[in-house]
């Protein structure tokens, strides 16, 4: 039982980090109707900005984190939007997907070439103690990861639902033409979406890198898992992405512990296929309707 609680908690903890990346997927999907295949690399890269700040610019940890966040928002948000996505709008589709695939190679290889191919230790941001709770050893880091991710998501949801900017962003996502007629600067709203995505990716990066070390190839698995989480939960819903992320995190840990470690990666995929066939709109998603 105590083992089950531990597995469950660490599953929720990594799952909540997956959820942050998955929300980015759904945001980009809503803003540009495209799937960002470089999302995993978006989570990998900010950790390296922080490492550069610490090791080469001699910044203290808190400043380095801030620097990493700013760089992420600038490079993965602003530049990605301006240089790659914007020239291709409004016709997106497959070419944009291919461009993001190429971008993922570009980011991965650049980190490998300019920083290093080995896994880099990442400073611990959160306390490393463990607590003993009714026989179960519970890591404080896991709990804090969960708390921070949930707080970020709640803050994002409040922003999107309660502020004028947030509601304008939602309107833009639902119907850009009508949003423009209503006087919303849709281009700016789409840009905000990309900036928020970059910020979430940076947060996910800072939380997951102390657990898995920072490595140029980290994005490969992270991207796929975040992807699956977004699909399982429902691609057009933020709460769907959270549910999907947590579900994948927990299932992944439970399978690895209790069923099979070899086919650990297969379970989310089987789940994905079943869910797409049974409920293409995702567990919590709403139907998008087909276009003729």
């Amino acid at each position: 039982m105590s083992q089950f609680a531990q597995v469950l908690l660490s599953g929720l903890s990594t799952g909540s980090i997956y959820a942050l990346a998955a929300i980015g997927f759904t945001l980009i999907w809503q803003a540009a109707q495209t799937v960002n295949f470089a999302q995993g690399e978006f989570v990998m890269l900010p950790a390296f900005f922080v490492l550069v700040a610490i090791n080469f610019l001699g910044m203290p940890l808190w400043l380095a984190l801030l620097f990493g966040l700013l760089m992420a928002v600038l490079v993965l948000g602003l530049l990605f939007k301006k240089l790659i996505v914007e020239p291709m709008l409004p016709k997106t589709g497959l070419p944009l997907i291919i461009a993001t695939m190429a971008l993922s190679i570009l980011l991965k290889e650049s980190v490998k070439e300019f920083y290093g191919a080995e896994a880099q230790p990442f400073p611990d941001i959160l306390p490393q103690q463990t607590m003993n709770l009714a026989g179960a050893v519970i890591s404080v880091q896991d709990i804090l990861n969960l708390v921070i991710s949930i707080t970020a998501v709640v803050a994002l949801t409040l922003f999107l639902n309660r502020t004028i900017t947030g509601r304008s962003m939602q309107a833009t996502a639902q119907n850009p033409a009508v949003a423009t007629i209503l006087g919303i600067d849709t281009k700016r709203m789409v840009l905000y979406t990309f900036l928020i995505n970059a910020g979430l990716a940076a947060l996910a990066s800072f939380l997951i890198s102390p657990l898995y070390l920072a490595k140029f190839s980290n994005g490969e698995t992270l991207g796929v898992v975040a992807f699956i989480a977004a699909i399982v939960g429902g691609f057009n819903q933020i709460r769907g992405a959270i549910a999907g992320g947590l579900l994948i995190g927990v299932l992944d840990n439970l399978t690895a512990t209790y069923i099979t470690a070899e086919y650990r990666a297969a379970l989310p995929l089987v789940l994905l296929i079943l869910i797409i066939l049974w409920r293409p709109q995702g567990l919590l998603g709403t139907d998008e309707g087909r276009q003729v």
């Binding site: 070419p95 990666a265 296929i273 066939l277």
Partner: protein
Amino acid sequence: MRFSLKHLLLLVGLGVLVVAPLGQGNYIVYMLCSWLIFSIAAMGLNLTLGYAGQISLAQASFMAIGAYTTALLTLAGWHWVVAMPIGLVLCFVVGLALGFPALRVRGHFLAFVTLAFNTLVFLVARNEDWLTGGTYGKFGMPRPDFGIVSTDSQLNFYYFTLIVFVIAAALMWGIVRSPWGRAFRALRENPIRAESLGIDTRRLTLLAFAIGSVYGGLAGSLVSPLVQFIEPGSFAVIHSLRILLMVVVGGAGFFYGPMLGAAVVILLPEVLRFTEGYYLILYATLVIVLMVFCPSGLIGVGSRIRDKLWSRTRDRGDLKQGAQL
């Protein structure tokens, strides 16, 4: 049939392919072989994606099915000519099965299902040691021996691959020109209208997947005697993405698109190799630039320039080449 410039160009192209490996080192001949093989795989995906408009990210898994079937049977002493068709039949059946999700979902969701399928095939190949040799893979597959000629030398194997490639390309040319080919394009342009015109979209979608998969399997069955070593890593999702890259970079929905795309994806990194570690960085940048400025691929660049110089009548959607995906 009138002998035109097109036929002349085709003959010149074939001539170049025959002469290309002469006097070259083993490595260059090997690269040319793998270009031909990946062209076959990309041709199959081009049918599924470029002509029928069904996105599939599982082409590498069909290469895996073809490669492992051929490897296991040839290692058991069967001749390649017997082993290959069995692999193809297997690919046809699995491709048909993979087509079923496409009846329910389209676009990005289909991409995810096929992506997941590819990963599952990879995991099975890695974990079922008794059948596939696990991470160590299978090695020492004999190259086909045709009595008078053996394909053991790299050059002979190149010509063998070239013959298979030409046959596959000719068949594809036939398929694309047939009523099926027209129906595939109708399915891509507007599935609902295609159905209202009496096209059995259900059967066509499945067929598009199955035929595309058979081409993947054929490529796989050539990979195993070429490399004489196969392991799960050669058929991972990244390779499906590479094949997709070939189709889109070359020009999806154009007959020669996949061959051009395969040349770019396979040979360009070799050309850029002098830049050492930076070659993948340069390569990725080039792809991004191409996609941003010319989403219809390299052939699209050519036809765009041609349209600028010689004005011509506009083609109907289901008649024109090239897909707007």
